[in-house]
Symmetry: C2
Subunit: 216 residues, 2 copies
C-alpha cells in the first residue's frame, strides 16, 4: 500500500505538464488527443503517458484517444485544481514577497488569501494586494476560514517552531520554502522547495564542468 | 566515479543549511563549533555532519571542533559562493518577475544581471531594478560577459527551444523553473524546480488525508 503511493509520485508530478500541453492543444482547436501525441510533446514513452493518466481515472477509446475537454477536467478534478484552494503564507520576507506576487499559483487553483509576519512594521500593510497579518491571528483565522494549506517561508532558524505552530493551528499540508527539513507528525503532508540546496548542487556541478574543460 | 558524485548530492544540498546555522552561531558570538552542536541544530546524526563537511575540505580538531570563520569560508569556497556569479534570467513573466525581486539570491553569491523576454512591450523596461533585454541580444551578451548560468522561466511550450538557444550561446548550467523536463547535452548541468509538480503532489496527498479523516 505504501509502495503503491510512492510509485504514484512521479506520475502526479508530471500531471501539471500534461495539463499545460492539453490546454495548448485546446488553443489549437483540437478536440481529441491520443497518448502518442502527448508522449511526443512531452518526450515520454506512450506507455508512461497511459499509466500516468490512468491514476486520474481518465479513460480513452482505443484507436481514438481521449476527449480533450474531458481529460483536462479529469486531471484537474484529480488534482483538486478545478476548485480554488485557499492557502496562507507565513513569512513575508524577500521570498515570501516574491511568492505573493506570483500570479501563476491561481492557474493551479491556489489562492494565497493572506500573509503573516512577525515584524510589527509589516503587519497591517499590503504586499501585492495581500494583507499582512500578525502571527498571533494565524490560529484563529486558520480555524475560522477552514484553511488546510500553508506556505512556509520564514528565516531558517524559525522554520521548525513556525511549522509546529501551523500544525497546532490545524494546517494539514505545508509547502516548505525554507532551507530546513522539518520534523512533523505523520498526518501532515510536506513538500520542500530547497532553492539554496538546488543552487548549491548547480554551483558545484558547474565548477566541476569548468575545471574539466580547462583540464582538457 | 559516477556513483561517488551521486552520493555527494544530498551532502551538497545540505550545505546551505549549515551555512545558515553557522552564521547564526557567529551572530551569537561563537568562534568554535562542534559537529555535535551542528548535528543538534539541524536534527542530523553527528556522523552525517562530519561526512557532509568533509567534502568541502574543512577539517576540525578532535574534541575541539571547527573554527567557525574558517568553516564558513571553506563551505562558501567549495560552493563558489564567496565570489558572486552573474546569471541571466530568461522569461520575465509572473514567476520571472518574482525571482527578479527575490533578494535572497545575493546571499548565495548569485547576481541576476539582466532579464530577457520575447515580448517587445517588456523589452527596454526595468523589473525590480533589472533591465529587460531582447532575446536577440542573449547570445552576444552571454559571450561578452562570460556568463555560464541561466534561469529558465519561460512558458512551458518554449522551454526546450529556449534551453537549446541557451546552450548554443554557451550557457553551461540551467536552473529550470518551468514544468518541462529538458533534453540537453551531457556537458550542461540542469536543476529543475518543478513548482507545479510539487503542488500537485501536495494537493493529492492532502485530499487523501482529508478523505481518510472523514472516513474515520
Amino acid at each position: 500500500m505504501v509502495k503503491k503511493k510512492v510509485q504514484k509520485l512521479p506520475s502526479i508530478k508530471r500531471l501539471p505538464a500534461y495539463l499545460q500541453e492539453l490546454k495548448a492543444f485546446r488553443k489549437e482547436g483540437m478536440q481529441v488527443v491520443s497518448t502518442t501525441q502527448l508522449a511526443k510533446r512531452l518526450q515520454l514513452e506512450a506507455i508512461v503517458v497511459r499509466k500516468d493518466l490512468e491514476i486520474t481515472g481518465a479513460s480513452g477509446s482505443p484507436g481514438v484517444g481521449y476527449g480533450l475537454e474531458q481529460l483536462i477536467n479529469d486531471i484537474e478534478t484529480y488534482l483538486g485544481w478545478n476548485n480554488t484552494s485557499d492557502i496562507f503564507l507565513v513569512g513575508a520576507g524577500s521570498l515570501g514577497t516574491a511568492l505573493l506576487g506570483y500570479k501563476g499559483f491561481l492557474e493551479y487553483g491556489l489562492n494565497i488569501v493572506a500573509a503573516f509576519d512577525a515584524d510589527p512594521a509589516k503587519v497591517g500593510g499590503m504586499i501585492h494586494d495581500k494583507k499582512v497579518l500578525a502571527m498571533s491571528s494565524f490560529t484563529n483565522l486558520v480555524q475560522r476560514m477552514k484553511i488546510h494549506m500553508a506556505i512556509l517561508c520564514v528565516p531558517g532558524e524559525h522554520a521548525q517552531e513556525c511549522a509546529d505552530m501551523m500544525v497546532r493551528a490545524g494546517i494539514k499540508a505545508i509547502w516548505n520554502f525554507t532551507n530546513e527539513p522539518l520534523t512533523l507528525p505523520e498526518n501532515v503532508v510536506v513538500q520542500r522547495v530547497n532553492l539554496a540546496g538546488q543552487l548549491a548542487v548547480l554551483s558545484v556541478k558547474l565548477a566541476e564542468k569548468l575545471k574539466e574543460e580547462k583540464a582538457e
